[in-house]
């Protein structure tokens, strides 16, 4: 009986060792994502390892786009506040429908502008990196529910996380 326990302990130690080795071999160290240092481009830096000149161009484009993004945020927010007010005021259906249409339009403008910006970034990256970048970001943007926009803070006009540091 004693030998069985020794065998069990040995197997458990082997399993622990194998698990740890597999973990260490398979893990892909990532930059500290938990730390909110505000570096939105950390992913690009880490994932694509672009040359310094390309990264500098992308940083400039990213900063420039923040202004566009802020403007889109404001327009979308205004459109949704207006829509909510109309709904709360029980406005005529035609008026609400028009406001909904306007809201959809500004969403579409935002999405189109965002995709254009992403394609510009991809062209700076060039080649396989650019294609891979688009294959990662475009599906995520398309998948996001632009119609609902739960993230837009309708109560305040403070800039969102991505803009805060600019």
């Amino acid at each position: 009986m004693k030998f069985r326990w020794i065998a069990a302990a040995l197997i458990a130690a082997l399993a622990l060792g194998a698990g740890c080795i597999a973990y260490v071999c398979m893990r892909k160290p990532m930059p500290a994502v938990a730390a909110d240092d505000g570096d939105a481009l950390l992913w690009l830096r880490h994932e694509f390892k672009l040359p310094a000149d390309k990264m500098a161009r992308i940083e400039k484009m990213h900063d420039a786009y923040q202004v566009v993004c802020e403007e889109h945020c404001r327009i979308i927010r205004d459109a949704r506040i207006e829509l909510r007010k109309l709904r709360e005021a029980k406005a005529p259906a035609a008026v609400i429908a028009a406001a909904e249409e306007k809201s959809r339009e500004v969403d579409l403008v935002c999405t189109t502008s965002l995709e254009t910006h992403m394609r510009d970034i991809a062209s700076v990256m060039g080649g396989e990196d650019g294609r891979r970048y688009l294959s990662i970001v475009l599906p995520r943007v398309a998948k996001f529910d632009h119609a609902g926009a739960p993230g837009l803070d309708l109560e305040s006009a403070k800039p969102h996380a991505g803009h805060a540091h600019h």
């Binding site: 030998f3 020794i6 065998a7 040995l10 197997i11 458990a12 082997l14 399993a15 622990l16 194998a18 698990g19 740890c20 080795i21 597999a22 973990y23 260490v24 071999c25 398979m26 893990r27 892909k28 990532m30 930059p31 994502v33 939105a40 481009l41 950390l42 992913w43 690009l44 880490h46 994932e47 990213h62 786009y65 923040q66 993004c69 889109h72 945020c73 979308i76 969403d107 935002c110 999405t111 965002l114 910006h117 992403m118 990662i136 970001v137 995520r140 943007v141 996001f144 529910d145 632009h146 926009a149 739960p150 993230g151 837009l152 803070d153 969102h160 996380a161 991505g162 803009h163």
Partner: protein, 106 residues
């Protein structure tokens, strides 16, 4: 029940009341010898025990190590995917007003 009977009546009483007819067990003797033999053959050292149970031990060890290795790899991959997704979402949140909540609510 009468408990005041004289002692000399106890013998006949028991003979009359408690009669057992034990069942024959033809395997009893061989069973005892088998147990004695098994005890005699039981390995005295760990290496002897391992030698005797090598196949079972090896099978169990291989299966356990494989499962643990798979589990460790799976955890590492899941963790890497989660970290990667967080980085992507942080980037997207910086350029897509619609995705604000997906990062801020984390």
């Amino acid at each position: 029940m009468n408990s005041n009977l004289p002692d000399e009546n106890l013998g006949p009483l028991l003979r009359g009341s408690y009669q057992t007819t034990p069942e024959r067990n033809p395997g009893f003797r061989s069973g005892v010898w088998a147990r004695i033999e098994a005890r005699r053959r039981a390995p005295a050292t760990w290496s002897a025990w391992l030698h005797l149970n090598m196949f079972r031990f090896a099978s169990l060890a291989v299966a356990t190590v494989a499962i643990a290795g798979f589990g460790g790899g799976w955890i590492a991959t899941a963790q890497a995917n989660r970290d990667h997704e967080q980085l992507v979402q942080r980037y997207l949140a910086s350029i897509d007003p619609h995705q604000k909540s997906s990062v801020e609510l984390r």
